[in-house]
């Protein structure tokens, strides 16, 4: 126990050390978080009337962001599978980053749900024994369970491994491997359950399609890894951590397959709805063409579709997949494309037209955007902190010193533009 305490103390010492850039970044995030907190205080004081949500569209930007972040958390298993099922070394070296993404994304998910509640102070009603968790009846209860489980699972795996590396010993894989393997079905379950949350509502034809859960999974395997590739580029340019090109290209290849499945399932759904042409077609017409003069989402969803298709080809063709510029463009396209498609593009057409045929066109208010900005900043702050600890440990720059008590810190700056990378770029230009 004393050792754990020493480790935690060491981590806090480490967190306080960093370059000017590191501090600027942290303060920037803290500023955004402050703005978010103030916006949330405003929402608490006035009620959810400060959002654009109303009885017809009773979920909006918060739940859209929540849904998207559940997808991002999937990033972890796309690394865990090649690393620990196929024992592929280039990805095994970076698999822990996936778990850290999952931890940060899960915290964001829980925050997004919390700010959406009308009575957040009653959250304890959800805790079994003290309150009443309507399990297994309510899919929201399932979601509470699996999201928290997935958070704890990833935090424990990453925490245990880093703790052992800090004390310069190999983690006992007898404990870790089962947990890692369990994290694969756990990741699938968070998507499935979140999809079922919508899927189970017969009142909303747009969601009440059995293809929803598979589509969720497919798009999650695009957005999470795409975000991660972008982060890898930043990490290897600004920290000492080395990430091999082949690992990144392999992930990009996996995105291509996932995106193909995503687009195929979308096509299957579009065909079924348009060809059968029942009363249930209305939300899809609203989304893709506009209905009765209401067309707020049309330009967004076509942007998303165009982005996703473009990115699919960029990742499919080896030349563009293995070119830094087109690779990064592809990742940005996927991230934005899925953000629209799995966020507002999924949630809002569930409510428009509403169950009695009415139209209320929703677009988020400033308060909603500021609160969401605050949550994104919180997620990034947590992720930065986790990286600040994990990267030096993985590089051997942060471990217990020879006295067995005090930490040894070899990487005092953390965020610095790396010279060798600059040279490499120079070489590329010369060629």
């Amino acid at each position: 126990m004393k050792k754990v305490w020493a480790f935690i103390k060491g981590c806090f010492t480490l967190l306080r050390q960093g370059s000017k850039l590191y501090y600027t970044w942290i303060y920037l995030l803290l500023a955004f978080i402050t703005i978010g907190v103030l916006a949330y205080a405003n929402q608490m004081y006035n009620g959810l009337i400060t959002t654009a949500m109303r009885d017809q569209v009773s979920w909006g930007f918060y739940i859209s962001n929540f849904t998207f972040m559940v997808g991002v958390a999937a990033a972890a298993i796309l690394l865990v599978i090649p690393a620990y099922v196929y024992q592929w070394k280039p990805i095994k070296e970076i698999a822990i980053l996936g778990e850290l993404v999952a931890v940060s994304a899960m915290v964001m998910c829980l925050l997004f749900v919390t700010v959406d509640l009308g009575r957040p102070e009653r959250f304890w009603h959800l805790i079994p024994k003290i309150g009443i968790l309507n399990f297994p009846q309510s899919l929201l209860a399932w979601d509470v369970v699996v999201l928290n489980l997935y958070l704890v699972l990833n935090f424990s795996i990453a925490g245990y491994m880093l703790y052992n590396y800090y004390y310069r010993r190999e983690p006992n894989m007898k404990y870790v491997t089962p947990l890692l393997l369990f994290s694969i079905p756990a990741a699938i379950s968070i998507h499935t359950v979140t999809a079922f949350l919508y899927n189970g509502l017969a009142a909303r034809p747009f969601w009440n399609a059995s293809i929803l859960a598979p589509r969720f999974l497919a798009s999650a395997f695009c957005s999470g890894p795409a975000g991660m590739i972008l982060m890898f580029q930043v990490i290897r340019k600004w920290t000492k951590f080395k990430i091999k090109d082949e690992a990144i290209f392999k992930i990009a290849e996996l995105i291509a397959y996932a995106m193909f499945i995503n687009l195929f399932l979308l096509g299957a759904e579009v065909f079924k709805e348009y060809y059968s042409d029942t009363a249930h077609l209305a939300p899809m017409i609203y989304l893709y063409q506009g209905l009765h003069g209401h067309a707020d989402l049309v330009s967004y969803i076509w942007t998303a579709t165009l982005f996703n298709i473009t990115a699919f080809f960029l990742f499919l063709i080896p030349q563009t997949r293995e070119n830094q510029i087109t690779l990064n463009i592809g990742c940005i396209l996927v991230f934005i494309g899925v953000y629209i498609e799995k966020g507002m593009g999924l949630v809002i057409p569930g409510f428009v037209p509403d169950v009695l045929g009415g139209f209320y066109e929703y677009s988020p208010t400033g308060i909603e955007m500021l609160v969401s900005l605050g949550i994104w900043a919180t997620g990034l702050l947590i992720f930065t902190m986790l990286l600040r600890i994990a990267i030096p440990i993985m590089n051997g720059d942060f471990h217990v010193s020879d006295d067995g008590i005090h930490p040894h810190i070899g990487d005092e700056l953390f965020l610095v533009r790396r010279v060798d990378e600059v040279e490499e770029e120079g070489d590329l230009l010369a060629q």
Binding site: D55, L117, G131, N134, V144, G350, G357
Partner: protein
């Protein structure tokens, strides 16, 4: 020596008082109540789900609420907890051939059930439909506003909670804050609802409404005859819905729901489905009846019919 002892004791007392004061201030800040910071705030915060309260605890809750509402609205407010009556299952009939779309039911309901006036919350939505198209919700208009009703070529369909026998809204609630009572009325415990609005997404009839803002209910218009699970004043951030005026219908000297009473053309029928002699049974057995969105298997106890 005694001097030092008393001094020590005083110091101890002072620090203890300070600590207690600090603690109280901290807890007060946590709860964020304004001037009326008192035991009542904590009692309501830690209140259990209504269905888990003992009879004595219900008494406490009711007297606390009655006190709170009576002070707030400046008149004696009654909060009833009358349970469902034995052998009663409520059913509702709505005669589409009579309804003229005047919306008196909408406002009769608002007055009886203490809905928010600012912003307006209506438990009943009246839809204007085209006679040519029939019951086609995709072409329904809820914001019609002519000088006179009924309008040529249109008919009207009021929609409110259908009190489903198989309600999709109650099973999705993550904390069991909403349930179906034995007389078929679907209720919400406003002190237990966390405001996640999953039930609103699940309801196929748009019957659930959310208090997006602190309800604006002028004291003069407040109806002091209330039920805990029904028309008592609602807090901000919770869901509410039609409860078949249980503060009227569940009493021994029972009255019809306000919407039935106020309807000028007698389009609304209400009664006990288990009583073969009841008017509602006559309607079901002898008229052309339909239920809304039958394919969803929600099994509404709200029957639309045509008498002519």
């Amino acid at each position: 020596m005694p001097d030092k002892e008393t001094r020590d004791e005083r110091v101890f007392r002072l620090t203890r008082r300070k600590a207690l004061k600090g603690l109280a201030a901290g807890l007060g800040a946590l709860a964020l109540p304004k001037k009326d910071a008192s035991a009542a705030v904590w009692e309501s915060f830690f209140q259990k789900n209504f269905r888990e309260l003992s009879r004595a605890e219900i008494q406490d809750v009711v007297s606390r609420l009655e006190k709170e509402y009576s002070t707030r609205y400046g008149k004696p407010v009654k909060v009833k907890t009358s349970p469902p009556m034995e052998g009663v299952l409520y059913g509702y009939g709505l005669d589409l051939s009579r309804c003229i779309g005047c919306r008196r039911c909408v406002y009769g309901c608002v007055g009886e059930n203490n809905q928010s006036r600012d912003p307006q919350i209506h438990w009943i939505t009246v839809l204007r439909l085209d006679k040519e198209r029939g019951v086609d919700l995709e072409h329904a208009e809820r914001y019609y506003n002519p000088a006179n009703v009924p309008e040529e070529g249109h008919f009207y369909m009021p929609v409110q909670c259908q009190q489903c026998e198989n309600p999709p809204c109650t099973k999705v609630c993550p904390v069991q804050a909403t349930w179906k009572e034995n007389d078929g009325i679907v209720v919400v415990d406003y002190n237990w609802c966390i405001g996640c609005r999953y039930c609103m997404a699940a309801c196929p009839y748009g019957a659930r409404h959310f208090n997006w803002k602190k309800p604006g209910l002028p004291a003069g218009e407040m109806n002091p005859d209330t039920h805990y699970l029904g028309n008592r004043p609602r807090p901000v951030g919770v869901v509410e819905k039609c409860i078949f005026c249980m503060q009227r219908t569940r009493e021994a000297d029972g009255k019809y729901p306000a919407c039935v009473e106020v309807c000028p053309v007698g389009a609304r029928k209400f009664g006990n489905l288990l009583d073969p002699q009841n008017e509602i049974r006559f309607v079901i057995e002898n008229k052309r009846v339909f239920i809304l969105k039958e394919d969803l298997n929600t099994q509404p106890k709200f029957y639309y019919f045509y008498s002519v």
